[in-house]
């Protein structure tokens, strides 16, 4: 097979996939959906950030986190704190016994703003915190776990415990966090009313833009040597270690990356939905996020987006008609994915649709890429490492 031609073909094919997704999210959905439905799609997309992080962390590097809701929630809460402070101006809250603090604090007999709320008056601090707080927590957890070689099921259980702890903490500390109701009644972002249809549509497009930014970061990591090390680490951790790599550092990195993506997703969620509550960050929410990733295909960056969209759309559809059946459907879906098609939709696509594409476009391919001498083209292909001809470094026999 000719490597250089092959790589061009794959690169262009990959480009087409990204373009199709962009077309769907930027043109088709906004045209066919009313603002309410579009806002819901936006909400689903915020989960795609988390699923994308899981693709990198779980799919590529083999680190299963059952607590990604924690990072989603932290990003979301950071944004919600900023919006809540803006909504709690002394004029708006004049009827409270302590004006100028969020309403739930007043109900809980707090008389001044807690110290850790203070910095969230600043929008730039909030933007930093949306990524910084989840990454910091991920770093602490990652450092504590990975340098001690805690991994696999043990790590998954610990992340799940952290999700439970954070939920309990938030619910228990009502006065500081809004408790089980969460932080509600968010109104404006720097004076811009986020509750109108126009604002929600604009926020939808911002969300899509951020998602593509994250997709490209993930793609960059995947296609660099870093991505190969992550995959290699998953398969042969000791060989990577004894090839001179600090395995823990790579694990911490990818866990922090996933947390950063989740944090951005959480912040977009708060903006699109208009509130944040503990129900979005707990154990159930975190496991659902893993299902989005698994259904889309845990090795596929784009699969994460489709997984989040499809499962959430199905959830809404189901919940509207048979609300009590959804948990069963979700469970069946997960079992089905794990047993029948462990590489998710992306895997099915690759084995059934891609061969069709190959047949359909073969003529173009032969025309577009004249056959070069195999031996001569190899170093050239090697030089084009930046655009590695793998879409998702996928191997059908390994699963």
């Amino acid at each position: 097979m000719n490597n250089s031609a092959l790589s061009k073909w794959f690169v262009s094919r990959e480009g087409v996939y990204y373009l199709l997704l962009a077309l769907l999210l930027v043109v088709i959905l906004p045209l066919v959906l009313d603002p309410f439905r579009l806002n819901m799609v936006g909400k689903y997309l915020t989960y795609a950030f988390v699923a994308l992080g899981l693709v990198m962390c779980w799919g590529k590097a083999g680190i299963l986190s059952l607590g990604q809701g924690v990072f989603f929630g932290l990003g979301g809460y950071c944004m919600a704190m900023f919006l809540k402070l803006e909504a709690s101006s002394p004029e708006n809250t004049a009827i409270q016994s302590t004006p100028g603090i969020p309403d739930f604090m007043d109900w809980n007999q707090l008389t001044e703003l807690p110290w850790f709320w203070e910095p969230f008056h600043s929008f730039s601090f909030t933007l930093l915190a949306v990524i910084g707080v989840p990454v910091l927590l991920a770093f602490i957890i990652g450092f504590a776990m990975f340098t001690r070689r805690v991994g696999g099921v043990y790590f998954a259980i610990i992340t799940q415990a952290i999700a439970a702890i954070l939920t309990i903490l938030i619910i228990g500390q009502q006065g500081f966090t809004g408790g089980i109701n969460g932080i509600t009644d968010l109104q404006t972002l720097n004076g811009w009313d986020i509750r109108t249809d126009e604002a929600r549509t604009t926020l939808y497009f911002i969300c899509v833009g951020m998602l593509f930014l994250c997709l490209f970061v993930a793609r960059l990591v995947q296609n660099r040597k870093l991505g190969r090390i992550l995959m290699a680490m998953n398969a042969q951790e000791n060989r990577v270690r004894f090839s001179g790599y600090d395995v823990a550092a790579f694990k911490i990195f990818v866990f922090c990356l996933a947390a950063a993506f989740a944090g951005v997703g959480g912040a977009m969620f708060t903006l699109l939905v208009g509130f944040m509550s503990p129900s979005f960050i707990g154990i159930v929410a975190s496991i659902e996020m893993v299902i989005f990733c698994a259904l889309g295909g845990r090795l596929s960056i784009l699969g994460a987006v489709y997984g989040a969209l499809i499962v959430n759309a199905a959830k809404s559809g189901f919940s509207e008609s048979f609300p009590e059946l959804w948990p069963f459907a979700m469970g069946a879906l997960f079992i089905g994915v794990v047993l029948a098609f462990p590489d998710g939709l992306a895997g099915l696509y690759r084995s059934y649709v891609m061969p069709l594409e190959d047949r359909l476009f073969r003529r173009d391919k032969d025309k577009g890429a004249p056959v070069a001498g195999t031996a001569a083209s190899k170093p050239a292909a090697a030089n084009e490492n930046d655009d590695e001809p793998v879409i998702d470094n996928y191997s059908p026999e390994k699963s």
């Binding site: 190969r228 398969a235 000791n238 001179g244 191997s395």
Partner: protein, 252 residues
């Protein structure tokens, strides 16, 4: 042993008083041995003698309970695995552990001693020097023709060579090979012996092996281990004639 008279600084590797115990069982017990630069040393011994554990201790996979491992004057017992690799010690495992999903080229590239930090791996570029180093090693390990094949498609013997190649590209001073010819065909064994002879022109090699024929082919000196201790040491003829060795290892 003339070793006692020399200072440990003269050796590439000086293992002294090395002990490790697992729940009270001493897998390696007060072990001392010394490697000269460019020497090929083979460790032999019955099952459970602690041979593989010695390699594990040197490369940091297992932490020593006591004793010292000095490599080129540097104490290894306190270093982490990747730091030991960076000091110049390469380790091949008993079962071939290559990255099956990656091509031979990529397997070697991953081991290329550059871009080993997270940011370094993000910035790493496949430049001329990398390609040349990979091609050079591929030739040494007889895999030039398979360079762009996935490692999963290689034969068992080729995987063993690939793993040796992954060590070579790191340019280590000391190579440690755990049963490099286990499971190989006769032809592959011959080729591996040839490969080792090439390698030892500029590396010190420490091998754990059972195949006495192969040991005789390659070893400068042989260390016989038994129950975590050195039973005998010297040339292959000397240890083969040693009555203690015949009793516990060879004589059956």
């Amino acid at each position: 042993m003339n070793a006692a008279k020399r200072k440990s600084g003269d050796f590439l590797l000086a293992v002294e008083g090395l002990t490790v115990s697992f729940d009270g069982f001493k897998a390696v017990d007060d072990l001392s041995f010394y490697l000269d630069p460019k020497e090929i040393r083979v460790i032999i011994g019955p099952n459970g003698a602690g041979k593989t554990t010695v390699l594990d201790l040197i490369c940091g996979k297992t932490k020593a309970s006591s004793g010292s491992i000095k490599f080129a004057g540097k104490e290894l017992t306190r270093l982490k695995e990747h730091q030991i690799v960076h000091s110049g010690v390469g380790r091949k495992f008993q079962t071939p552990s290559v990255f099956e999903d990656l091509t031979v080229f990529e397997n070697l590239e991953v081991s290329y001693p550059q871009g080993h930090s997270v940011m370094g791996a993000l910035a790493f570029k496949r430049d001329r020097a990398v390609i040349e180093a990979v091609e050079e090693v591929a030739e040494t390990i007889f895999l030039t023709d398979a360079l762009y094949e996935p490692a999963a498609s290689l034969s068992h013997g080729q995987k063993q060579w690939l793993e040796i190649g992954m060590l070579l590209i790191q340019k280590p001073d000391l190579l440690m090979l755990d049963e490099p010819v286990a499971g190989m065909s006769v032809a592959e064994r011959k080729k591996t012996a040839e490969l080792l002879r090439v390698i030892t022109r500029d590396h010190t090699v420490l091998v754990v092996e059972h195949d006495m024929q192969f040991v005789g082919d390659i070893a400068d000196r042989v260390t016989v281990m038994h129950q975590g201790r050195v039973l005998s040491e010297g040339s292959i003829e000397k240890v083969k004639a040693d009555p203690k060795v015949i009793e516990v290892y060879l004589g059956h």
